[in-house]
Amino acid sequence: MFNEFNPLKNTMFQVIDNEGKVINKNWMPEIPDEKLLKIYKDMLFARTADLQIVSYQRQGRIYTYPPNYGQEAIAAAAGALIREEDWLVPAFREMGTMLAKGVTLKQLFLYFMGYEDGSKYINAKNTLPISVPIASQLVHASGIGYSIKYNNQDKIVYAFVGDGGTSEGDFHEAVNFAGVWKVPVIFIIQNNQYGISTPTHMQTASESLAVKSVAYGVKGVKVDGNDLFAMYRAIEESIKICKDGEGPVLIEAVTYRKGAHTTSDDPTKYRTKEEEQEWEKTDPLNRLKIYLIERSLWSEEEEQKIVPQYKEEVDRQFIEAENYGPYPKEDIFKYLYADTPDDLIEQEREYDRFLQWKKEKVK
């Protein structure tokens, strides 16, 4: 695959077309029907949740949120392949992979409601918290890769970044280090066409983002990120490369951010309705759904039935998060150091005295 879809040729790896027809049989991954259906349902769940979160935000029930809308196939493919022992190094638009790892929606809700507790992934092994400073997490992925190699472990790192992130020095340093060390990291660039308002062609003069792999001497491929099968197969092939000690791999997943950058952003400022409609044809859920219906694995009726159940589940976890309770003041002090320095303890005591004063003074 890496030869056939050599980034220097600037071709895009696809398995199904926009109508859900298989156009590249040779590279169709073998996914058991049951698993495939689960992947679709996971994507549907992620989309349902995502749309609902945006509406909660509009109701003022949650703070700024970066939607995944339109990018579900990438996170779902990675989610279907990532194992418990593998490492996930997310950016902030990988809900599907995080849920697959065991992070709960409730935790994500807590995070976006403004509780650090939302990053305490007790059920998700080897999962780093959301990283807000763009691309900075990628270098950690290379370091984790080194540790895996050093300890001779059978593990892989899945590291995510957006198209904008490829302009940061950390992106280049991360891929370069991983390339020098030959460590098992799969770097996945979600090229959703915009870094907030800035289109990808203004981030780089390169023909693609995948082509950057060539300069670092690592394998790379540009994949239709809205084609679940192509994403799944590309990651499968990357896993093989990593297991052979020939990693890292750089995947450019071409997709489209159907929503806003975050709920604070207004895409009408920088893109047209026509463009949005053009990309609508590539919608990842729609393509997979047509394929599944075609093969009688799924139906509109089933979808109509299941979506309300998903909505209920999302709502249930959201309300749980809403009722999480007050934020104890101790929590801002106690996680900074293994042993809290005396001066910081004194600062907390002084705060206690202030709170006591306030209680007596202010009605």
Binding site: P133, E168, I196, Q203, D331, I332, E348, K358
Partner: protein, 325 residues
């Protein structure tokens, strides 16, 4: 005179300098087409073209580093860091080059440029969107660091910053971007950098603040007045250079000083001001200089941020303690 908020005022200052000086270049992440995530540069690309106002690749180090190059070659870059909390990739360029180019080249090269950035908390933001890191920059020899607290000051100080021959970190208190509207003088005017502003005369205690904290102090002053305490309020406006004269004169009058800052306490701006009071007005002091500041912790996410932020109560608590000392 025109009624403006701080966003309008900064935009107006940029507009005036872009019109007047062809060497002024404005860029950063999303500042062009979109006009910035806070709309501070809105309309400027349309007016001056995408060769003078533009979107850069997403790379803070690249933005500041190229600005240094432009500056040594005679342009006047005014770049934006999208948030103060995202400036760290550019730290190397700021500390290693912008702050020392003139000194290194013994005056042959200089880097007249402005790095604008929104800073500060209280807006229910995600991680890295609420920091107040002015003390770090104030600590670096060769930089000037300024913070306006009103639309009027924002305009006059930004024009001064753009006209300066130094590298200026121009920090914008985003919490009050749109919260304060006032009459701002139309056309060009400047406010000298490095001069504090006595906003209110008082006799019992001096309170020094800047940025969004000025407004919190003003609320505390109302409480203090009810308690019979007369407060003198100084808007510092410039972290570096620091206006010792104004501070010392005030402390000599009131005998007490409190600083109100948003950043962490230790090695903060408040510590520096306290030391100035000790150095130059020791015998006038009737109480130890006091600091109202953040704790030495990471700014909590929104649900915990109220524990961290300085408000009128924390300020009045300290005023009362200091006066009763």
């Amino acid at each position: 005179m025109k009624i403006m908020n701080m966003v309008n005022a900064i935009n107006d200052a940029l507009d005036i300098k872009l019109a007047e000086d062809n060497s002024v270049i404005v860029y950063g992440e999303d500042v062009g087409v979109e006009g910035g995530v806070f709309r501070v540069t809105e309309g400027l690309q349309q007016k001056y073209g995408s060769h003078r106002v533009f979107d850069s690749p997403l790379a803070e180090s690249g933005i500041v580093g190229t600005a240094i190059g432009m500056a040594v070659a005679g342009l006047k870059p005014v770049v934006e860091m999208q948030f103060c909390g995202f400036i760290y990739p550019a730290f190397n360029q700021i500390i290693s080059h912008a702050s020392r180019m003139r000194n290194r080249s013994r005056g042959v090269h200089e880097t007249p440029m402005v790095i604008r950035m929104p800073y500060g908390g209280g807006i229910n933001a995600l991680e890295h969107h609420s920091e107040s890191m002015e003390a770090i920059f104030g600590h670096i020899p060769g930089l000037k660091v300024v913070v306006p607290s009103t639309p009027h000051d924002a305009k006059g100080m930004l024009i001064s910053a753009i006209e300066s021959k130094d590298t200026i970190l121009y920090m914008e208190p985003k919490r009050i971007y749109r919260a304060i509207k006032q009459e701002v003088q139309e056309g060009k005017f400047t406010i000298p950098l490095g001069k504090a502003n006595v906003l209110q005369q008082g006799k019992d205690v001096t309170v020094v603040a800047y940025g969004a904290m000025v407004r919190e102090v003003q609320k505390a002053i109302v409480m203090a007045k009810e308690a019979g305490i007369s407060v003198e309020l100084i808007d510092l406006r410039s972290i570096y250079p620091i206006d010792k004269e104004t501070i010392v004169k005030s402390v000599k009058k009131t005998g007490r000083i409190i600083t109100v800052t948003e950043g962490p306490k230790t090695y903060g701006v408040g510590s520096e001001i306290s030391q100035i009071a000790i150095d130059e007005a020791f015998l006038h002091l009737e109480a130890p200089p006091a600091r109202v500041s953040g704790f030495d912790v990471i700014v909590p996410l929104p649900k915990g941020e109220h524990h961290y932020m300085q408000d009128q109560y924390k300020i009045f608590y300290e005023i009362e303690k200091t006066v009763k000392y």
